[in-house]
Amino acid sequence: MKLHEYQAKEIFRKSAIPTPNGQLVTAVDQTAKAIENVKGPPWVIKAQVHAGGRGKGGGVRLAQSPDEAVSFVRSMLGNPLITKQTGPGGVIVHQVLIEEGVDIDREFYLSMIIDRAMATPALIFSQAGGMEIEEVASRSPELILKEHVNLVTGWMPYQGRKLVHRLDPPLSPEPAKALMAIMANMVKLFTSHDCSLLEINPLVTTKDGKVVALDAKLNIDDNSLYRQKELQALDDPREKEPLEVEAEKFGINYIRLDGNIGAMVNGAGLAMATMDVIKLAGAEPANFLDVGGGASQEMVTKGIEIILKDPRVKAILINIFGGILRCDVLARGLLEAARHTEIRAPLIVRLEGTNVEEGREILKNSGLEFFVAKDLAEAAELVAKQVS
């Protein structure tokens, strides 16, 4: 689960990680009041969307006057922001953060992730802040420093010294101390909030010797939400595809893609592989949909309905390898869907596994029209025929 920058910064402040003062506005007429409360000019006007790349997309502007601030807020609120992470349609901006401008001396990069291979969290620090870290990683990997965190000891002061005293040119004592404190606080925040990602880019030193998080990215491990109820309340469903939100309610994993072949599969790995099968057949998948290894009849019905709500879908491939989910349950779920929804696109069904004969029999006797594929290779051919 992703948080907005302003939400992450509130948590930062509570965790003793300094941020600029700022105020959130959700309507243009709140701007004047916000500007009175926030030091400036200049003010930094920041669109609050989950997608990255906001700066280049025009979602971060520097206002030198109140009028300019109002006009930037007006240009953002209610309008789509297009960045390289949003897709061509962009995402609608519902909230804008107005912050005081900061007199930047140096920019750093600081983040925390889970290092999968080492099975432990790691802090990542770089003196090349304000740039895309991927770019730094490919151009000058020696500038990216990594420290693993031992959960028994927690972050140790020597680790901060190790990172900060390598800086060239060196930092003066006050900001160096502040930076090391931020690292320690970041580790505490990461573990206490079950984060999967924490990122400050840039983390800056100011001309008057302070260290401030100018940006904030905070993702929560979805598996921990049962014990992070307060954070769960910060979820903003407006940031997601409506169909993804609907699917979530039924425990279905659905992700919208750009093609026109709908797909319903049980199991995440097989669902991904089925998308690839569609692509290799010369078509494009419209979605990823995993009804789960042990899906119920109701979930199957709902899955088909969700796929059909996508107007671009021209054909549907159902690929089920019955294990816990039995093929007869799948077949009944399909018939139930057909009772409520017009199946307006050709259905290609490939069933294998537990109770496969019974499942095929139910489909055959249903009076509905299906293309039944005997295996995946044939299913791919049938998909190819639909698009040619």
Partner: protein, 295 residues
């Protein structure tokens, strides 16, 4: 080994305890495992010690199951909030193989589990996995048993149903399996590709290995690095997620492309450069392996 069919990690000598045996999933799969002939000899559900479930005694602790029934393998079905505790309990009781089926364990819990297991003699399979089967000998997990055949192919996979698909095709092509293992779809797991490749490499009953990967992390790349040093047995690969968009979690908690890291095409490239035969058309997987091995 004088014609003996070998396997890794579990076999007819495995004595299995099911942690969470009184839950719906635990009970159902206990029956399925027993039907396959697996020696499930005990269950553990805290507070229900003294009862019986599926015909076997239920204990309050794993240690009791070790003391009274001599269990050496665990299969865990307990819900996510309690699963890391269950894994550690099984390791503390000295079980050699711990299979955790549970999906949805917080990743920081898995960090603690990994640290706890260091230096102990237990191996963990999963979490968020279908388990392990040595066909004809023992099944510790939730995979449909009937698709498997005893034979000489070792199967290692990050997925559940995708593994069933591949195994089904292998069996249909006349290629039985020595052992099939789902390593789990989480970012932090127990045994990984590298460790299992080593076990299969040493197993005289395994003639070839099938590796089923997916987007996210670098398990495939590390497996490729191992094989590049010389492996001695043919390895076949498949990687799911060529069409997966970056930044989206594709069902499995660990199946996510981060920036330009973890992409399927890079994994396929790494595997191919190590001399692994990567099969792109899933529908032709079994046939392709059979033809290559025959040639």
């Amino acid at each position: 080994m004088n014609g003996l069919i070998m396997s890794i990690l579990v076999d007819e000598k495995s004595r299995v305890v099911v942690q969470g045996i009184t839950g719906r999933e635990g009970a159902f799969h206990t029956r399925q495992m027993m039907d396959y002939g697996t020696a499930v000899v005990a269950g553990v559900t805290p507070g229900k010690g003294g009862q019986t479930a599926e015909g076997v005694p239920v204990f309050n602790t794993v240690q009791e199951a070790v003391d009274k029934e001599g269990v050496n393998v665990s299969c865990i079905f307990v819900p996510p909030p309690f699963a890391s505790d269950a894994i550690m309990e099984a390791a503390d009781a000295g079980l050699g193989v711990i299979v955790c089926i549970t999906e949805g364990i917080p990743v920081l819990d898995s960090v603690k589990v990994a640290a706890f297991l260091k230096g102990r003699n237990s191996v963990l399979i999963g979490p968020n996995c279908p388990g392990i089967i040595s066909p004809g000998k023992a099944k510790v997990g939730i995979m449909p048993a009937y698709i498997h055949q005893p034979g000489g192919i070792g199967v290692i996979s990050r997925s559940g149903t995708l593994t069933y698909e591949v195994v089904h095709q292998l069996s249909a092509a006349g290629l039985g399996q020595s052992t099939c293992i789902g390593v789990g779809g989480d970012p932090i797991i127990g045994l990984d590709f590298v460790e299992l490749l080593k076990l299969f490499g040493d197993d005289p009953g395994t003639q070839a290995v099938v590796l089923i990967g997916e987007i996210g992390g670098d398990a495939e790349e590390r497996a490729a690095a191992l094989i590049r040093q010389g492996y001695g047995k043919p390895v076949f690969g498949f990687v799911a997620g060529l069409t997966a968009p970056p930044g989206k979690r594709m069902g499995h908690a660990g199946a996510i492309i981060s920036g330009s890291k973890g992409r399927a095409e890079d994994k396929i490239k790494a595997l191919e450069e190590a001399g692994i035969t990567v099969i792109r058309r899933l529908g032709e997987f079994g046939q392709s392996v059979a033809q290559t091995l025959k040639a």
